[in-house]
Structure formats: structure tokens, C-alpha cells
């Protein structure tokens, strides 16, 4: 079994995991591999570091999908039967689109778009970028132009943040709570109980009156859109739970990354979200076995032979650690698919590198039985 069977009948593949484990590269490789097999695939990233663009040979990525030049694959000796598209999510731009879609009239739209609070909102509301990634995913899914969408999730400090994003946005736009800022007088008191009046004056003392007025203005114009956006957030959240979606957990064999993966797997289970399997990148390789120093010195002379032997000892020790860490993850997976990708000799940053990864992800026996 390989990645291509894991993704059979799936329309959405969400690659999640901690930072620095090779998530962007894995997302791109999976998308390329599925496209090579004849599908029309789009890979979405929010990583502004141009990593994906670089690796696909695109000069840059925008908030619109771009097709990767088939020539790129031919150069790397890859037979491309489908199409590979890529885009980089611009969270601010996507927010603007959401506002444009939900505003009842131009005046409201302009009031929100021009508000100073709103202008900082996209990088300020916790989880807002994560939510916008899902919003874009939902939109593309609905338009139905692709057989498969692969999402490279944002590099949050904690992969779990991603799952909470729709919920947090729903709460944020919860109109009941907005009331406080709309009418900080009596209504606020009623909704939030006694003491809210004092609170408002305390808040004013700390923040200064301007900030509160700006917030109030913002919510005033935002208020009539809140329910529309809230409903949409719920549907976006639901999309992640459908049978057409699947989560792939990307990790490395480092202890911290494995810890986080174990938590993430549990969290998916609790939230009843679909799980496709785990990909463990950069595994050190080396089997245990006999001491080979004598053979090596006979072959290469004393000095070099010993050096090669010592180097091999290190590889084995590192490999042993990695295998133990993966076993920890495997226990949590309870027989669910697990794919390991060895530490490659060359740094992966182009189409040829992605193809090298795919030799492992798409190998017929890629999924290890654990």
C-alpha cells in the first residue's frame, strides 16, 4: 500500500504537523505524485517563505492557483499524466473576500475594510490565518475544479491550533457577545451580568478611549455580517469531518515532534475527524548486526576503515533511536497506516527532490505494517 491508496476517493488531504518536519515538502510531493498519476491536483500553502514556489520552480505564488509548467516534470524525468496547480494563501486577501461576500451593501463593506482594527485583524485574531486556509479550501472544494486538494497547514506553534480555528472564529463572531461592544450600556449589562458597567470603565482606563471606540465601530459594521460568517465557519468546520477529507500527520522522529504527533492523533480521534495515516520524514537508516570494523579495515586500510566503522556505529545509534520513537507513534496509531521516509543524501528543494521523496511515499510497500 502507498499514499495513492490512502488517498483513494479523497478530495481533500490536510497535511498537519509541527514546524520543521518537512510538511511543505511532503505536501508538494504528495500533490505531485497524485498529479503524475493522472489527477488534477491543487496544493495550497500559507507559508510565505516561498518554499513551495521554489520547490515547484514557480517564480512566486499568489492567492490564485497557478499551474506548474509540465516542462519542469519532463526535465526531471517524471511522466506527468495529470495537472499540478499551486497557490499560496494570502490571509488578508481571503479575509477581504469574505467581507465582500457577506457585506449587505457597499457602505458596510467599505466601513469594515477601512476600519483600523480590521486592517490588523487578519494577523491578530488567533487562528485567523488557519481559519482562512480552511475557508479557501472550502471555496475551492465547492467550485469543484480539482480532483484533489492538498493543504499544507500553517506553521502554528502547535498543530492543534489548526483544529480549533473554525470554533474560535464562530465564537468571535457570536453576535450575542458582540452586543457588548455595540451597546455598552444597558444591554451589555444584561448579557454579561452585573459588573459589566464597571468593567467597561476599567477597560477604558487601561486601553484608552480611542481603542474601545474603534472596536465598537468595527463591531457595529461587522455585526450584520456576523451570523453569515458564523454559519459559514460551521460549514467549513464540517467539511473537515466528511468522508471526502483525510488528515495526514507529518512528523520527524525527533522526540518533541513525536510527542506532538501523539497528541494530535488523540485530538483527531476525540473530534471524530478522519485520519489517513502518518508520514515520518528523515529517518536515519542502519540495521543492527555484526561488528564490521575488521572487514572494513581489510578493505580500506586501518585509518579509513576505522573511520567508516565509527561513522556506521553513529548511524546505527541514530537509527535505533528513530525506530524507538516511531514505535511510540505506532502504538498510538493502533495499526493505522504509517510511512517512513529515510533521511535523503540531498537537500530537497526542487522537482527532482520531490520525485526522490515520492520513490518512498508512492512505493508499493510504502505503508509499513506495524
Amino acid at each position: 500500500m502507498s499514499v495513492s491508496e490512502l488517498l483513494e476517493h479523497k478530495r481533500i488531504c490536510i497535511c498537519a504537523g509541527a514546524g520543521g518536519v518537512g510538511k511543505t515538502t511532503t505536501s508538494a510531493a504528495i500533490a505531485m505524485g497524485m498529479a503524475a498519476r493522472g489527477m488534477k491536483v491543487a496544493v495550497l500553502t500559507i507559508d510565505p517563505a516561498k518554499r513551495l514556489a521554489n520547490s515547484l520552480g514557480l517564480p512566486e505564488l499568489g492567492n490564485e492557483e497557478r499551474m506548474v509548467d509540465p516542462e519542469r516534470f519532463a526535465e526531471a524525468g517524471i511522466e506527468m499524466r495529470g495537472e499540478l496547480w499551486a497557490m499560496m494563501l494570502d490571509a488578508k486577501r481571503t479575509w477581504d473576500e469574505v467581507i465582500e461576500r457577506h457585506a449587505s451593501d457597499e457602505k458596510t463593506r467599505d466601513a469594515v475594510l477601512g476600519n483600523r482594527i480590521y486592517q490588523e485583524l487578519s494577523n491578530a485574531v488567533a487562528g485567523s490565518t488557519e481559519y482562512m486556509a480552511m475557508e479557501k479550501l472550502y471555496e475551492l472544494h465547492h467550485e469543484g475544479r480539482y480532483d484533489l486538494l492538498v493543504l499544507d497547514t500553517p506553521p502554528t506553534r502547535n498543530a492543534l491550533d489548526f483544529l480549533d480555528a473554525p470554533e474560535r472564529l464562530s465564537r468571535f463572531v457570536d453576535s450575542r457577545s458582540l452586543q457588548f461592544f455595540l451597546k455598552p450600556g444597558r444591554l451589555g449589562l444584561k448579557v454579561f451580568g452585573r459588573g459589566s458597567g464597571i468593567l467597561f470603565s476599567v477597560l477604558k482606563r487601561v486601553t484608552g478611549v480611542d481603542l474601545l471606540r474603534d472596536l465598537s465601530d468595527f463591531f457595529q459594521s461587522f455585526g450584520d455580517m456576523a451570523s453569515g460568517i458564523g454559519e459559514r465557519a460551521e460549514r467549513v468546520g464540517e467539511l473537515l469531518g466528511t468522508r471526502e477529507s483525510t488528515f495526514l500527520l507529518v512528523t520527524s522522529p525527533q522526540r518533541d515532534a513525536i510527542d506532538e504527533s501523539v497528541f494530535f492523533r488523540r485530538r483527531l480521534r476525540e473530534s471524530r475527524l478522519p485520519f489517513g495515516g502518518a508520514v515520518v520524514n528523515r529517518m536515519n537508516e542502519g540495521a543492527d548486526g555484526a561488528d564490521v570494523e575488521d572487514d572494513l579495515t581489510a578493505l580500506l586500510g586501518d585509518k579509513l576503515g576505522r573511520k567508516v566503522a565509527r561513522n556506521y556505529e553513529d548511524s546505527r545509534r541514530l537509527a535505533e533511536h528513530d525506530v524507538a520513537q516511531v514505535a511510540r507513534l505506532a502504538r498510538e496509531l493502533r495499526g493505522e497506516p504509517l510511512i517512513t521516509v529515510p533521511l535523503l543524501d540531498d537537500d530537497v528543494h526542487d522537482v527532482a527532490g520531490l520525485a526522490a521523496i515520492n520513490e518512498h511515499l508512492f512505493a508499493a510497500d510504502a505503508v509499513t505494517a506495524v
Binding site: G19, G20, A126, L178, G289, L299, V308, L318, H349
Partner: protein
Amino acid sequence: MPALLDKRLIVVAGKGGVGKTTVAVALGLAAARAGKRTIVAEVAQQERVSRVFRREGLGYSEAELTDNLYGMSVNPERALKEYLGQQVGGALGNLLFNNRVFEYFAAAAPGVRELATIGKVWELAQPERRSPGNRYDLVIMDAPASGHGLGLLRSPRTFGDIARVGPIRRRADLIHEFLTDSRRTGVVAVALPQEMPVNETIEFRGKLRDEMGMHTHAVVVNSVLPERFSADDAERIEAVNGGHGAPEVAAALRAALSEHRRARGQRAQLRRLKKEVPDAVTLPYLFEPELGLGEYERLSAELERKL
């Protein structure tokens, strides 16, 4: 190194997974050895620093990890609560904090969590703190990954611009001034000798300069493989590679060739980085799956020598 350790705050930044915590702890050990009462403040809430000293679960408290070296994990909610308590008095601060209205304020007011976090780090670095027993000579901040890290440093100005007037504005201005004063705040960017981390380090330095007017004091490249095998060695190994001996022998030969190839790739990336940052310093890869205190001491001595 002395110049760097004489700052009041060192920000350790870099993309995810490059070893920021390793460098933060190594710097902390060096500063503590130099007689500075030092605290390493983690802001990503992963408690990696305390784990190095087998003191997991430190949380939002300042605790001594080893001689002269302290640690703390800064949680934005706690920092915000503490700040409010100081502003309006404990009881009222609590009331405010526990109210849903406040939850909304904190969610909606752009960057308030980031501001609370960097505000706490700033507070740790003040020579005249409220409790004299907890004054530090140096604070080392283990910053979140590049994008978030930059956002964190930017947050006082962002927030100051929005608030315009009032106590938060005044405090935000103080913090911004402190961060951009290169005599008091130093930045260490951490990288790996690979294509993307090198690109991101160069980009980060540029952004820090253009957007914040901040100077990167040092670039540290982590996990640099030693040159175990020369080109000559590799040729000799290549010559006997394939069809020889037991499977283990073949595996050992392959491992040596991989090692050579990886080290060569790293050196090419290092050269590229050094074109932009001639004084970038390197830390060796230690061939240990997990670093213990002994390894941190070793890296710390290395940094002391090179910076």
C-alpha cells in the same frame, strides 16, 4: 561574545525546527558562567528549556535551573492577567480577566496576546523590577518560528498605532523603544545549512532591518556535519562499494558515502550563507539523537569561543 552578553535581552529567532531552543540554552549557560544572572524565557509554550534540565512543568514561574540560570515559560493569558492586575489592582483585574467581554476584547484587539507576551519578556529585562530578588542581568527569549517571531517583535508598534493614546500605548512605546535599541536588545538568528533555512535566514535579517530597523547581531548555523571523509576517502570507498562482503559492510560503505554527500551539500549552503553573512558561526552536529546537559555545555563552550 562579551558585547552580546552585555545586552539586557537577546532574541533567539529562526524558522521552526532549526534548534532555536538549543542555541538559547547554550547562550544561557555561557552567560551564567560569565557571572550573569540569566533567565531563558520560552514563549512557544512547549517547555523545551525546562526539559533540558529535567524540570518539566515549570510553567509561568521563574525557577533556577542551574547556577545563575533561570527559566520560565511565558503564557500570554497569564501575562495579560498579571499586567491588568498591576494596572487596575488585583481583584478588579481578576474580575475583568474572567469576564467574557474581556475574552472578546483580547480576541478582537489586534496583537494583544503578542503584546502581553513581549511585554512580560520586557518586564523580566527591566533593571528595576517590582521584586528586587528577581532581577536579571540578561534575558534570553526563545522566540516562536520566523513569521510569528517577527509578528511578536512588531506587536508593540502595531498595538501602539491602534491604541493611539492611553496606558497601553505608553507601555507599547516603551517596549518598542527597548527592542529597537541595539545597545539593550540583541538578535541571534539560527539557521541550518540547508537551502530553505538559509533563504529564510537571509530574508529574516532583511525584514528585521526594513520593518523594525533592527540589526541581527549574530547568525548561528546549527547541526553542521564535520568533514569526516575527504573527497579522496570518498573515492576510495566508492571504488570498493558494491558487491563486497556482508550486507553490514555494504551498509557501512553506503552510510559513509551518504555522510560525505550530505556534508558536501551542507558546505555549499554554508558558502551561500557566508556570502551574505560573512561572520556566521557554526555549531557542530553531535551525532546524538537527543541532547543532554553535557552536549549543551559543549555547544555553549563552542559559542563562547566563536561569538
